[in-house]
């Protein structure tokens, strides 16, 4: 059985089920308790689970991520919420120098199974509140970086992340919390934290994206379908470990690739995907790989300027046309 629920509710269900299942699971973050979570994912949790398991923290991202690491070493299952991915930069040292490395550096003696939930997104929020840094985290061995686009993945990934033994950077998106989709009823519905998914089959061109970008890709594919252009759409879902095989198999069929991402293109996921695909499928490519990303500027506030900066469906459509010559 399955129900249609929102992305936000999928996350809420995952958290609630895992908290009910395992006493060691607790939540910690800024404004997750009394305020109810800045994106309302944890609304009501403080009342339901109490202050021991739903912990409002000071505004100290580094401190709370580090405390999560220690708590995990000490036997707990912390889910740390960093309000937005912009603020995660304050915790970069804990994430990159500590969390990602403990298992390897100490020769596998112990793990730190911390889940860091955070959100990308934009919407006239200005330069420091509109960024997306998934590529920065995906750069680092030792982290698992997931960025689900659909409610089913949001729930299945979050439950697996909490039960698993690796650190997970779990990146949501402020503009898709209300998106709806089918989610299985099973309380033990888990998804492996790896693997891309072909969500729309096609023969002419492959469009790869993830998170909100997936919806741009899908919208572009539907528009192009009306003119008889048949796009295959891949939701990458997980950025580390990267499932290049699925992309390569698709490119071997379509011979053309467009990567859509929300952030800057320079040294970003799209660059990595393009490099990996040309290494493995050079002879199959009939056109240079196209990358759609944001303009390389700090995000401006003004509505018209912001619209110029972020990728949209029209730019994805244009990129598809560009590779179809």
């Amino acid at each position: 059985m399955a129900r249609e629920i929102t992305y936000r509710d999928a996350l809420r269900e995952a958290l609630r089920e895992e908290m009910e299942r395992d006493e060691r699971v607790f939540l910690m973050g800024e404004d997750i308790g009394h305020y109810g979570g800045s994106y309302a994912v944890t609304r009501g949790f403080l009342e339901e689970f109490g202050p021991k398991r739903v912990r409002d923290t000071p505004i100290a991202e580094l401190g709370i991520v580090g405390a999560g690491i220690g708590a995990a070493i000490g036997g707990l299952r912390p889910v740390v919420e960093i309000m937005t991915i912009n603020f995660s930069l304050l915790a970069m040292d804990q994430i990159v120098n500590h969390l990602a490395k403990l298992h390897y550096m100490f020769n596998g003696q112990f793990t730190a199974p911390v889940v860091i939930r955070t959100a990308a997104g934009f919407g006239q929020l200005g330069a420091t509140h509109s960024q997306t840094f998934e590529g920065w985290y995906a750069h680092v061995p030792g982290l698992r970086v997931v960025m689900p686009a659909v409610p089913k993945d949001a729930k299945g990934f979050l439950k697996s992340a909490i039960r698993g033994n690796d650190p997970v950077i779990f990146i949501e998106h402020s503009l898709i919390y209300r998106n709806r989709g089918e989610v299985p009823d099973d309380e033990d519905f888990l998804l492996p934290l790896e693997g891309a998914e072909v969500r729309r089959e096609g023969t002419d061109v492959t469009i790869v994206s993830w998170s909100r970008g997936y919806y741009l890709a899908l919208g572009a594919a539907e528009e192009l379908a009306r003119e008889g252009i048949d796009c295959e759409v891949i939701d990458l879902r997980v950025l580390r470990p990267l499932d290049i095989d699925t992309v390569v198999r698709s490119v071997q069929k379509t011979n053309r690739l467009v990567v859509v991402e929300e952030g800057w293109r320079t040294l970003a996921m799209g660059a990595e995907i393009a490099a990996a695909v040309q290494e493995r499928a050079f002879d199959y490519l009939d056109a240079p790989i196209a990358r759609v990303g944001s303009l390389e500027v700090p995000m401006p506030y003004a509505r018209n300027l912001e619209r110029l900066v972020v990728p949209n469906k029209d730019r994805v459509v244009a990129a598809v046309r560009q590779v179809l010559y």
Binding site: T57, A71, G74, Q94, N97, Q109, P241
Partner: protein, 337 residues
């Protein structure tokens, strides 16, 4: 400042065997570090090598006071803690040599000793970066009602960094069982405390977080032991964190690469002559009539043999198997590529 000189120390009531064990551990650390310096000069040890010589009383006094269930995280000058925990000197030396028999299989090196079986969750090499981790260990203890204390050892330099303040605040806010043990050796690498910290007494920084604090003579192993005992009881009883500042001194450079331009030879010589924790403790135990010269000499001789064997063990151990280089990046299998 707490010192046991001229007064009685509860630590003196410890059985003679334990007092001599504390002496032995300090000599072991001293000789281990000297041997490591020799092996570094011979090219057997590479990278960074930060020696604990001069500071032995802090590790030995504090760890002797801890319960084996208590957690420990430390900074990167970490050989002394491993040895004070009773870890095998051969495996410690092998880690410096980058051998498979090392404490962490040659993956960590000098700065990243660890042993989960001793609740020693590692030496950390980003200054102050391990303090939030100690807070989390304290949280785990409180959450699970374990009455274990998380002990974090760090230097004076760490107290000027943001993670220190975030950690102090969180530990105090949540009344976590965390002992912040600051080794004030007067220099953060080559920068003297007075060039780095607006407050010269590190213990004063605890006031900002309403945290009880104590200054202790870090060259006096019994003073460190006594202060740590009291602090641990405070934490274990659910009264929240505690801060200890141990005044100590590093007799060698910051690392092997340090030409020591920032302090005078006379200053170092003065400390070596007047404030050597091993000499001070030996003199104390002699004056108290607890042990005689021959007993100390016997321990010194035994340590020599242990160190010789440790170096030999490290020398003869195999390098890590190249086939294992990708192991332990993740705890769960990775299937995609």
């Amino acid at each position: 400042m707490t010192s046991t000189v001229g007064g009685r120390s509860p630590g003196l009531a410890l059985p003679k065997s334990e007092l001599l064990e504390m002496y032995r551990q300090m000599v072991l650390i001293r000789r281990f570090e000297e041997a490591a310096a020799e092996q570094y000069a011979l090219g057997k040890i590479a990278g960074f090598l930060h020696l604990y010589i001069g500071e032995e009383a802090v590790a030995v006094g504090a760890i002797r006071a801890m319960d084996p269930r208590d957690h420990l995280v430390t900074h990167y000058r970490d050989h002394g803690y491993a040895l004070a925990l009773g870890l095998d000197p051969g495996r410690c030396m092998a880690e410096l040599f980058g051998k498979s028999t090392g404490l962490v299989g040659g993956r960590g090196g000098s700065m990243h000793f660890a042993d989960a079986s001793k609740n020693f969750w590692g030496g950390y090499a980003i200054v102050s970066g391990h303090l939030p981790i100690a807070v989390g260990l304290g949280l785990a203890s409180q959450y699970q009602n374990e009455r274990r204390v998380a002990v974090a050892i760090f230097g004076d330099g760490a107290t000027n960094a943001g993670p220190f303040h975030e950690s102090m605040n969180l530990a105090a806010l949540w009344k976590l069982p965390v002992l912040f043990l600051c080794e004030n050796n007067l220099y953060g690498m080559g920068t003297a405390v007075e060039y780095a910290s607006a407050v010269r007494e590190m213990a004063k920084k605890a006031c900002a977080y309403d945290m009880p604090a104590e200054r202790v003579d870090g060259q006096d192993v019994l003073a460190v032991y006594d202060a740590t005992k009291v602090a641990l009881e405070h934490c274990r009883a659910g009264n929240g964190p505690f801060f200890i500042e141990a005044l100590t001194y590093r007799f060698r450079g910051h690392s092997m690469a340090d030409p020591e331009m920032y302090r005078s030879k006379e200053e170092v010589e003065e400390y070596r002559r007047q404030r050597d924790p091993i000499t001070l403790f030996r003199t104390r135990l002699t004056q108290e009539g607890i042990a005689k010269a021959a007993e100390f000499d016997e321990i010194d001789q035994e340590v020599e043999e242990v160190i010789t064997a440790a170096v030999r063990f490290a020398e003869e151990s195999p390098e890590p198997d190249p086939a294992t280089v990708m192991e332990h990046v993740y705890a769960e299998p990775v299937r995609v590529s």
